[in-house]
């Protein structure tokens, strides 16, 4: 079975500081990995994805994530956050043999001025 763990439910960070949102997964098969962002009262917007190839993937809004197969992690990072980054962030995995997504419980990022 697949599962996704986001270790931090809430992350407060000062503006222009770096941030890392952690995501670990478990799966018996190869997976694709995604990060989505959800702004208040909006849907899920894709930030970035890992399907294959380079383990460091860059996404929109200056975010990047690194796939670490040995640690089964896909942590999201940004070197300098902005007030507008305040949102809920979801990590998701998809089996490469199926098509449903498994989501983590989300991390609420609050950027403090």
């Amino acid at each position: 079975a697949q599962s996704v763990t986001q270790l931090d439910s809430q992350v407060p960070v000062f503006e222009e500081a770096p941030v890392e949102l952690r995501c670990n997964y478990s799966s018996s098969v190869s997976v694709y990995l995604f990060w989505y962002v959800q702004y208040p009262n909006q849907g899920l917007q894709l930030l970035l994805k890992y399907l294959s190839g380079s383990t460091l993937v860059k996404g929109i809004n200056g975010f990047e994530a690194e796939f670490n197969k040995s640690q089964t992690s896909f942590h999201l990072r940004k070197p300098s956050v902005h007030i507008s980054d305040t949102a809920e962030y979801f990590c998701a995995v998809q089996k490469n043999t199926g098509n449903q997504f498994y989501f983590g419980t989300g991390t609420s990022l609050t950027v403090i001025p």
């Binding site: 009262n41 979801f90 498994y102 989300g106």
Partner: protein, 113 residues
């Protein structure tokens, strides 16, 4: 950029009534999904649909639920006899290929009274 649209944005229904949530996926996409997010919880997979039939469904998707693609553009989720615990945000998603990122709509907030 094309997007997935969902209507209505908020639906209030009496317990026991039927409700239909509507989605217009991105026009050239072939795979369609419904997810739900109970307040404060993670996004959960309900069902995936491809080639005019259900390809995967979760335990949540019991006999009270059904999906339909009645024409070339709409994708609907019907809940036959709603229960209080059906109150949630329901997200529709679509993608071009099963190993591509899913594009999500802004969701329909369903409130059961």
């Amino acid at each position: 950029e094309p997007e997935v649209t969902q209507t209505p944005s908020h639906q209030v229904t009496q317990m026991g009534q039927e409700v239909i949530l509507r989605c217009v996926p991105i026009s050239n996409h072939l795979y369609f999904y419904w997810y739900r997010q109970i307040l404060g919880q993670k996004v959960e997979f309900l069902v995936s649909f491809y080639n005019n039939e259900i390809s995967e469904k979760s335990e949540i998707f019991d006999d009270q639920f059904s999906v339909e693609r009645p024409d070339g553009s709409n994708f609907t989720l019907k809940i036959r006899s709603t229960k209080l615990e059906d109150s949630a945000m329901y997200f529709c998603a679509s993608c071009l290929d099963s190993n591509q990122p899913q594009h999500f709509g802004d969701g329909t907030r369903l409130s059961i009274l």
